[in-house]
Amino acid sequence: MSQARFLPYDAVTDWLRKIAETMRVTAPVREGNSVVFRDFDPEEPLVLGHQSAASPKSVVFPQLEYLFRYKTDRTADENGVRQITLEPIYPDEDVFVFGANPCGARGLTTLDPVFINDEYVDPYYKARRERSIIASIVCTLPGDACFCHWVGGNPNDPVGSDLVLTPIEGGYLVRAHSEKGEKLAAGLDKADAREEQAAQQVEDAVLATLDPPPDLTDCPDVMENVFDDMELWEQVSDKCIYCGACTYYCPTCYCFNITDEASGIAGERIRSWDSCMFPTYTREASGHNPRPTKAHRFRNRILHKFSYYPKLYNRVFSCTGCGRCIRMCPTTVDIRDAVLRVKEAATKDESAKEVSDG
């Protein structure tokens, strides 16, 4: 690993101010009772070390994205065909995300294989991803709804972060995990052995506070056993009011809608977030909806994160255990309960099958 650096707390603002001269810097601030990412303003106090309300996902996958502008000619040619002019709109800025949580940063890596793979590359996503640099801060205060260590993460997980900052006395120990991060941190003073040791202690201390996680490794293999058990799905989703908050705040949810927002003969084609919890999510043009009730849609959310996705992409869950869906849910639906209940029912089914097969 490359040389660790040290960023004193009282130098953070100046450091960001300098970076902000060359790119957009976004960092968490308080608004109302919420911690939200906003464009860096040296006058506004940063709220670091707390989980932001929404994850930093929107930096690479914004809630609203203009794909292109279009315009139709007023007059048709001799064949009655009208000319349409398209003007693509590509992301054109570098963004530095300062002060994400490791679970938020890790979320970005679960979006990657979806938007950038062998068969298809989404140019919008790719451009944003390449042009963003993420600095996360080791989480020293895992909350009651957090469970990153159930799903492969941990409070100092560097996955998805270009820089990881560990809070120690007087400042942050800064470690680079990519070339982009390396370059950004290059101007900072080198850390000494004592500082590195202090950071190690902080990280070990947080890990020691975590309860042993349940084993979820077989989820992708067993959970679909109960796909048709609608009674189970109704019960695990009964309190859900299908608002979609869980998916909008989730760092790994990536479903989108594409609509043309026209005014007259011109308009934009936009991509905006969709949610599997919405009734319109899979409603077909005929009116038929293969996921007619919230139980069907809730099933999709759970199985997608803990079965379909890991089966497709290296057995990684599309959930980083950030707990946002639990905290933000107006009815406190707890995805941990849902997963454990479904897994339990599914393995019961499995053993029942084995018995009858035997």
Binding site: N33, S34, L141, N257, I270, S272, T280, P330, T332
Partner: protein, 319 residues
């Protein structure tokens, strides 16, 4: 407050006749509750009744329409049940209402404004005092009136207005600590520019998740909401302040004279946006013009669902 045991007994009595009874259970920490759908004894053991039972469970009634269900309501929640009945959005014979008098709940948002309520060990309640102990070894002592939702400060109906079973003795209505429209009146003191700036800032945080809409017991077109309709194309999918503001105004207008001021919309908002302000404003207008309060009288017809050639409080002509 009525005893939990009595409430459990009442639910047990109703249970054989319904699909489930909706109540509250402990959420993932001591200050969080979560709705509970009681189907059997095991579920019933989880039932709680305390100041954390803040959610208005009437929001579930329209989606269980056609099935006979039981529901536990506080005084304020009972207004929503009434209003749903008034508008024939639910059938009286489909709901068994278990009413409990309530001395007030607490607001997570108001507690959150005092400290990040994210690592809770437990909560103790003694009279008006709440002590919340965190896992970090801190103890926060709070007076419950300081962290009561505005609706409790202004509560006029602590006793259920409609019920099939009543649990506990009716309680004496307390002197409201402030009028329901206090925040509205304060907001009114600001200039138009200030008010617009306020909403511009607040709405910029909104992420169009629609928790406010779906939590609302009276917001019943959910599956066919104008916010998502493509044909007609009322609203764009854009995520700018204009669209979000537009949505809130539509919600408020659709709720004028129907909103039971339960505060669920604001409670549900994950971004802590004071969207109840829109509705209390409409509530005030409706009260002034029609002398009507939603959900108070089961037999009344909501003013915007009826028509009178001459409204007594609206001066249409100049003579």
């Amino acid at each position: 407050m009525a005893e939990l045991n009595e409430l459990r007994e009442a639910v047990a009595k109703v249970l054989p006749d319904v699909k489930h009874v909706i109540g509250w259970q402990r959420g993932y920490h001591a200050v969080r509750s979560s709705p509970l759908f009681i189907r059997n004894q095991e579920d019933l053991d989880k039932l709680i009744w305390d100041r954390t039972c803040y959610q208005n469970l009437a929001s579930y009634l329209t989606s269980t329409r056609g099935e006979r269900v039981g529901i536990i309501v506080k005084g304020c929640d009972s207004r929503s049940v009434n209003q749903l009945l008034q508008e024939q959005l639910i059938n009286r014979e489909d709901v068994v209402v278990i009413g409990v008098p309530c001395t007030g709940v607490i607001s997570l948002d108001k507690i959150r404004a005092k400290f990040p309520i994210n690592r809770v060990k437990d909560m103790q309640v003694e009279g008006d005092e709440l002590t919340i102990a965190t896992r970090d070894g801190e103890e926060h002592k709070l007076n419950r009136w300081d962290v009561a939702p505005d609706k409790c400060l202004a509560c006029k109906y602590p006793n259920p207005l409609i019920f099939d079973t009543h649990v506990g003795e009716p309680i004496e209505t307390w002197e409201p600590k402030q009028g329901l429209y206090a925040r509205d009146e304060e907001f009114d003191q600001k200039s138009l520019d200030e008010r617009f700036e306020f909403w511009r800032r607040e709405m910029s945080r909104c992420i169009r998740c629609y928790a406010c809409r779906n939590a609302c017991p009276m917001c019943v077109c959910r599956d066919h909401c104008i916010a998502e309709s493509r044909q007609p194309h009322y609203q764009s999918q854009e995520a700018d302040v204009r669209e979000k503001f537009f949505f809130q105004l539509i919600h408020a207008m659709h709720l004028a004279g129907r909103c039971t001021e339960c505060g669920e919309c604001e409670r549900a908002c994950p971004m802590d946006i004071p969207v109840l302000l829109f509705k209390t404003r409409m509530g005030k207008v409706v009260k002034d013009l029609f002398d009507y309060e939603a959900g108070v009288d089961q037999t009344a017809v909501p003013p915007l669902l009826t028509f009178q050639a001459e409204e007594s409080n609206i001066e249409e002509k100049e003579w």
